[in-house]
Amino acid sequence: MQTILAVDRLTKRFGGLVAVDDVSFDLFEGEILGLIGPNGAGKTTVVSLISGTITPSTGKVLFQGAPIAHLPAFRRSRLGIGRTFQLMKPFPGLNVLDNVAVGALFGTGGGKSQLREAREDAAKWLAFVGLGHRERQRADELGGPDRKRLELAKALAMNPRLLLLDEVMAGLHHGEIDEVVSVIRKVQSRGITVLLIEHVMKAIQSLSDRVLVLHHGTKIAEGAPQAVLNDPKVVDAYLGTRRV
């Protein structure tokens, strides 16, 4: 299997706080890697380091063999890295279609050069995530679950090779979760690699090819979902050590 992303001894310090501590892992092309860990474990920080919102204190990030740790975010997007944000921020003044069109215009390889083409692309991706009927609505009028779909569509419109999903299922109920799971499966079937931060364990179990666990900024487990989720270290991290 080809490695699409290699994270090597990645560390990020904010003042005195070490948010990510010497984390290393490989991401294989076409797989879905679940990234879990208690709140504050550093998961979003790792994703931000990969997508370029922040730069590492030390360590390397290699995308398709090339080092990207110090590239600005927009260059990494052009290379094919897309991400969604936990706090969904649609472009408020634009309608749903145009929100996604931005992704199509500026995505991998520089995106499209024509507005019309970009909008056509956007329409297709909106249909893909199930938001086709809301094209003309103002993006800030969408409700929670629809906002997540929009986030996803925006990232997908960039034609990413690697998609970083940050808690797309937070706050959804069972039926909605199942829908998002099937969309993510469709994404994988198009050959896109997915890194999935989640707290919803059933989604992690059903989607992930492998799972990685962070705790206090360090990697404490990595492997097949069943094995990892039953690892006593992981259970400990989530439930805390029992005090006798």
Partner: protein, 316 residues
């Protein structure tokens, strides 16, 4: 975006305006020229403030630089106007790049304050330069014929508006809008925010400088205080906002309306222009912060509730 009726109306209006110098009294031609130049300033502000969302309070810097570039070329180096205006424009662009790159790294009101400070500083810098005539300024060669300047200003405004029109339907424009709506998200989605902001600032500087150059030659005089007049910033911003920032025709409508009303008032009471603009700002910002274009679009549906809505959203 624009519907075909809009562009037809625009072209029609443009053609009509071309013939004004043959039909109107001198005072009206002069008023027209001033308004056209102000509208160009408003439109150029629209590019950086309206589309990119970087509210510059110091675009008068480029107006002044354009004016001085033109004046110095013509007075100190004996160049014809054609060369002078080119020098002014090139200087405007160079300064936009030099000043823009550091200042565009600031966000929100810090950016606004920095541009304001730059504008204030420029007055001081220029009044110390011998080549610019220090505090006294320069007197430019006289060219008779208001019609010439009127048509030139009209042409400049048309060019600026066409540029904004192109921006509104281009990938570049979309990038600017994304930056305005959410700069971080725009970056993550692949927009080269630094480059785009600089380009927007450059365009704004370019058109402002040209306006400054035309104005300097027209009134045959330039000095630091009038060239870098801070109140120009108020006017261009409020014209763009009142008409509708981030739209193609908003700044034009705002400029023509506000300049006309201000002119009418000025004939009644001298010096009223400042008072008028000040009051317009206060009222407009409270009741119609998104300008006339938004108002005309939503008032038919909402009626007076439009104003109440704006209040409700923003009051303490």
């Amino acid at each position: 975006m624009m519907r075909p009726i809009g562009s037809i109306a625009f072209v029609a209006m443009l053609l009509a305006l071309v013939f004004v110098p043959w039909l109107a009294p001198p005072a009206l031609i002069q008023f027209g020229t001033t308004t056209l130049l102000l509208a160009t300033l408003a439109q150029s502000w629209n590019i950086i403030g309206g589309y990119a969302g970087y509210a510059s309070f110091g675009n008068s810097v480029f107006y002044g630089i354009g004016g001085y570039g033109t004046a110095i070329a013509m007075v100190q180096f004996g160049q014809p106007f054609g060369v002078g205006i080119l020098v002014g424009a090139v200087l405007g662009v160079i300064f936009a790049l030099l000043l823009g790159l550091p200042v565009l790294r600031l966000r929100g009101h810090y950016f606004a304050i920095a541009t304001l400070a730059l504008a204030e500083a420029m007055t001081g810098v220029v009044s110390n330069l011998d080549i610019a005539g220090r505090n006294i300024g320069l007197v430019l060669p006289l060219r008779k014929g208001d019609a010439f300047f009127y048509e030139l200003s009209l042409g400049l405004l048309a060019l600026a508006t066409l540029t904004v029109f192109w921006i509104s339907r281009s990938r570049f424009g979309f990038g600017l809008i994304a930056i305005r709506e959410d700069e971080d998200a725009a970056g993550v989605m692949g927009v080269n925010t630094t480059l785009y902001k600089a380009l927007a600032f450059l365009l704004a500087g370019f058109f402002s400088a040209l306006a400054g150059g035309i104005h300097a030659y027209w009134i045959t005089f330039i000095d630091p205080v009038s060239a870098f007049d801070i109140t120009l910033n108020v006017m261009m911003i409020i014209m763009a906002i009142f008409g509708g920032a981030g739209t193609i025709f908003g700044p034009l409508v705002g400029a023509i309306l506000l300049a006309s009303i201000s002119e009418l008032l000025a004939t009644e009471i001298t010096g009223m222009a400042s008072l008028f603009f000040g009051l317009v700002i206060v009222v407009a910002v409270v009741f119609m912060p998104r300008g006339l274009t938004d108002l005309t679009r939503r008032f038919p549906g909402l009626g007076w509730r439009y104003f109440r809505e704006n209040l409700r959203l923003h009051r303490l």
